[in-house]
């Protein structure tokens, strides 16, 4: 069975995006996206876990009986998350302090168990790894977009403290978009997360509808030209 990698890419990043289409993993999404940097860190950590767990599950898929699959998946994911947690604590300690509790909680991120169950347990190593990467990047995209939206409206900055995550070389990312901004506290608080997510979902659906209409019009034009 050949794998359609373009399809996997499209699914992970847009059509079947963890957040914008499946509406999974909302808890970490809403909790850490008060700034774009936090979103990026959380997204990259989740991507690493998604890839590693997908690969492990795919490799061992013939040994895991259906009856015990869920506990085994959870065990695999928990092991990997613990490793990622410790690695972040060692190498990006300051960001680890900010994200704090949410790194261990990646274990309960339903997107990861969902991908293990619905994709990795039925696929070979290569596609599972690639799917993990694309789903993870899609999740990161959602986290960064939501984080950036909330950060710009909430405190007038973008990628504040990015150097904590990426090193001093990336401190040029730290922007102060609106000088002397009073701050819109509500947007950085949890209700703002829900509101911003709702508006982003609406925007995506509107965009999708428009794309679908355009594709339909093109198909009609082609059909008319042929007849």
């Amino acid at each position: 069975m050949s794998t359609d990698y373009r399809r996997l890419t499209r699914d992970g990043l847009w059509d079947n995006n963890v957040v914008f289409s499946q509406l999974l993993a909302l808890c970490p999404l809403l909790a850490v996206t008060a700034s774009a940097t936090n979103g990026l860190g959380m997204g990259l950590a989740t991507t690493a876990v998604l890839m590693a767990s997908g690969a492990t599950v795919a490799v061992f898929r013939h040994f895991i009986t259906p009856a015990v699959r869920i506990p085994v998946f959870v065990l695999i994911i928990a092991t990997i998350v613990t490793a990622v947690d410790m690695a972040m604590n060692a190498w990006v300690h300051d960001l680890h302090k900010v994200l704090g509790l949410f790194i261990p909680l990646i274990v309960t991120n339903c997107a990861i168990l969902g991908r293990a169950e619905s994709f990795a347990s039925k696929q070979a190593l290569g596609p599972a790894l690639y799917d993990g990467l694309m789903m993870g990047l899609g999740f990161t995209l959602a986290l960064v977009v939501l984080g950036a939206t909330r950060e710009i409206i909430g405190s007038g900055t973008l990628f504040a403290n990015a150097s904590l995550l990426l090193g001093q070389a990336f401190s040029f990312l730290e922007l102060r978009l609106i000088p002397d901004y009073h701050g819109f506290l509500l947007v950085t608080l949890p209700p703002g997360g829900f509101l911003a997510l709702g508006f982003l979902l609406a925007a995506k659906r509107r965009l999708d509808a428009r794309l679908a209409r355009r594709a339909e019009a093109r198909a009609l034009a082609v059909a008319a030209a042929e007849s």
Binding site: H182, F184, L185, L186, V187, L189, P191, L195, G198
Partner: protein
């Protein structure tokens, strides 16, 4: 009920949404005009900005949603929402507070839910609460009255300048509301009678000669507007009476226990947004229960929450929070308190009448 028994379909009185909205605005007019007079040009500018934004936001949302713009816009509901919101803002607040508030009220609290009649929460109160949480400083900077006729009132240009960002002038004249002042003083351990001294007099609270939000300072004029709405049958008496009675009763009881700690019923009823909330905000037709008994429960809940929030919670004023919390309870109240179905008892069982005597058997 002397009306003759006729079979359906029944005609009904032609009372359109726009007529109700017009009556409510008429009732709000005296208190608003007094607010304009007392707080001068900055208040008028802020009011204009807030109402204009509300109407524009409504038009924009209707356009995006593909609904007919003219009929929905002309029903006046967006105008009224902006008006009510402006009434609850500090009169010398900066312009962007009104703009953000109106956008929150119309876009987030009303149109996202599906437009007029679909919203779960009172739009003006959603906006007020969101603003209070997001901009605590600007939302609690009040000024004392500076009547238009007095010499130190800002001129038209100065007023516009204050609304559009001249904060230095604001600092010079800001003053706490009676509710805010009493809360601060009590927290510092001052005795109540001393705290009230110079900050509260029943007469000035009734006439509106005190600091507070744009349209809520004059208890008398708001009461007048409320009675007008009652007389016109736009609202029924259940919610305002239940709310004010509960608030007054709780205040009186606690005042009786410890007069040095708890202000009396008069202070609570005449201060802040109690009357405005009871007559104009809690009675919103969309977000309050439909049955009379449900409305009594709703009003009593509002009154109780207002007292609890004012007395023990973190904010000196709680009308907006109380109304929103009870809005959230409205579906529950409507579920449990249903009107009796005609011909059935309260449990829903058919009533059996003895035909001869007409008694219920």
């Amino acid at each position: 009920m002397n009306a003759p028994l006729v079979s359906g379909p029944h005609t009904h009185q032609a009372r359109s949404v726009s007529r109700i909205m017009a009556l409510v605005m008429l009732a709000l007019l005296p208190a608003t005009l007094l607010g304009f007079y007392n707080f001068g040009w900055p208040a008028i500018t802020l009011f204009a900005v807030t109402v204009l934004t509300a109407v524009l936001a409504e038009a924009g949302c209707l356009l995006i949603a593909g609904k007919p713009v003219r009929p929905f816009l002309l029903d006046g509901s967006a105008l009224l929402t902006g008006w009510l919101l402006a009434m609850t803002l500090p009169p010398w607040a900066p312009w962007w507070l009104g703009v953000v508030g109106s956008l929150l009220a119309i876009v987030v609290a009303k149109q996202v839910f599906g437009g007029i009649g679909q919203n779960l929460f009172n739009p003006a109160m959603v906006a007020r609460v969101a603003l209070l949480i997001a901009f605590p400083l600007q939302m609690t900077t009040f000024v004392g009255p500076q009547p238009l006729s007095s010499p130190n009132a800002p001129s038209f240009l100065e007023g516009v300048a204050i609304t559009f960002g001249d904060e230095a002038k604001l600092d010079a004249v800001s003053g706490a509301t009676p509710l805010g002042h009493v809360r601060t003083e009590l927290d510092r351990g001052t005795e109540l009678t001393q705290a009230l001294n110079g900050y509260y007099a029943p007469l000035s609270a009734s006439l509106g000669d005190t600091s507070g939000s744009l349209g809520e300072t004059s208890a008398l004029l708001i009461l007048l507007g409320g009675l007008f709405l009652l007389f016109k049958r736009v609202i029924s008496w259940h919610i305002p009476v239940a709310m004010l009675a509960t608030l007054g009763l709780l205040a009186a009881v606690f005042h009786g226990f410890d007069p040095t700690r708890y202000p009396g019923a008069g202070f609570h009823l005449l201060s802040g947004g109690a009357l405005l909330g009871a007559f104009f905000i809690a009675t919103d037709l969309v977000t309050s229960p439909v049955s009379a008994r449900g409305q009594l429960v709703f009003g009593a809940g509002c009154g109780m929450l207002v007292y609890v929030i004012r007395t023990w919670a973190g904010y000196p004023e709680g009308v907006a929070f109380a109304v929103m919390l009870m809005n959230a309870c409205t579906p529950l109240i409507d579920h449990y308190i249903r009107p009796r179905i005609y011909g059935r008892d309260r449990a829903g069982q058919p009533m059996v009448y003895d035909v001869q005597s007409g008694e219920k058997s």
